[in-house]
Symmetry: C2
């Protein structure tokens, strides 16, 4: 497909905002986008969080958009002085930026008809779109995101970002969804490590992961296999359960 | 301070693990580490999530450790085949790795004395520590993390990672904690953007942020100022409230 020419397949996520790096706000966009893309069969290869600093945003956009098929960014497209994402995207793609006439008119009409404040200079900034970008509709709060090159620029507010992803869906290639199977037990990772490593050797093309967890004060392990071949994953799931039982623990009932 | 010679101040966070990039696991380590470092006055400049792939981990460690004063990594130090962080750190710092005699003996004694499985080959892997690294104690589950150069290598399980951070605390410089003040109201960002931008111009050295939120179906804005000068932040807080009131909304009571 054209989007991946010269690039690695898969996507990167770029979270823009001081509030994530300060720990004030718990990011949930990364996990949401990753699961959403997984359903389309697009794996996420890397994620980065950068501050509201132009040079950092531009450098990250260039690094990620040059390497991966797609980049999904969130944050920094609002009306305040710290919302600099649109300018940074224009800079990263070495293009200009100005007030998009259709967006400007739509926002002007929205603010004229709804009791949500005046369409002042700050809000007009949200109509600034880099040249050559295509819009990403915002059915929640009006001000759009945009796609520039292989970068999808979305809002940081989760409810708005979720709606924008649905607008983006038709632009993405459809392939086989990434599925996963999980088997968990209250057992130490070290007790199943050899069986798991042997299983991985027999299935070098299916990544097998082991994730320790702590629940009700007890440590346990979740074994996870990911891939697109459902029958193969089901067979591995049976093997996971055998490994758990061989180590003396019955697998836990599956989470519903 | 020696650690920052030739590097930028502040820290980077490196989250290692396929389970974060697939969206299976919601990362909370970034926000926790960021808030914890903020209390020590160490700002987080960047965060990255990379998969369980050697080349990716090594490249990220080199990029981040070369640029920032400190790097905090989580994940990949357990006993299973996908736990490759220790080897990657040795590779990134171009040093060797082997079984650390003290760690090996301590883990052997721990498994001999507790009913938590045998000290098999897989668990012995957790005693492999890069040459030249210093240990980070693990009071929760035994297997230590380590510091190599300016990189603190910690477990991915939050409860273990939290305990490891406390072990690291004496190695970090003490400076003035980063504080923040927040004023929120049910008001659109666009209504306070100009007042906020003017306030930012008057206080160019204090980063002011505006964060839209949605609560009880209503959109609101939180204004946040960050810095080390408490008196200055309190003065800015008063200005935040004035900006909200000038736009027609009383600030919300502070969250307790």
């Amino acid at each position: 497909m054209a989007e991946t020419y010269g690039r690695e397949d898969g996507a990167a996520i770029l979270i823009i905002g001081d509030e994530i790096l300060s720990g004030r706000t718990q990011d949930t966009n990364t996990a949401y986008i990753a699961r959403w893309l997984g359903q389309l069969g697009i794996p996420v290869r890397e994620a980065r969080v950068v501050p509201d600093v132009e040079a950092e945003i531009v450098a990250a956009v260039r690094a990620l958009s040059g390497r991966y098929a797609f980049v999904f960014s969130t944050g920094g497209i609002g009306p305040t002085h710290d919302d600099i994402t649109a300018d940074c995207m224009a800079s990263a793609f070495q293009t200009g930026i100005s007030y998009h006439p259709t967006v400007f008119a739509a926002l002007a009409a929205r603010y004229a008809s709804m009791n949500i404040g005046t369409f002042n200079e700050a809000r007009q900034r949200m109509a600034r779109i880099p040249f050559g970008a295509s819009l990403i509709g915002n059915p929640v709060s009006g001000a759009p995101g945009f796609q520039i090159g292989n970068v999808f620029v979305m809002a940081g507010i989760p409810s708005v970002m979720h709606a924008m992803l649905e607008e983006v869906r038709p632009r993405l290639p459809v392939s086989t969804p990434l599925k996963s199977v999980t088997v968990s037990a209250f057992i130490g990772e070290g007790s199943i490590a050899k069986g798991l490593a042997d299983l991985q050797k027999k299935n070098p093309d299916v990544p097998l992961g082991s994730y320790p967890f702590s629940r009700d004060g007890k440590f346990g392990t979740a074994l996870v296999a990911r891939g697109t071949d459902a029958a193969r994953l089901e067979a591995i799931k049976v093997e996971f359960a055998s490994i758990m039982r061989a180590a003396g623990q019955e697998p836990l009932p599956e989470a519903s």
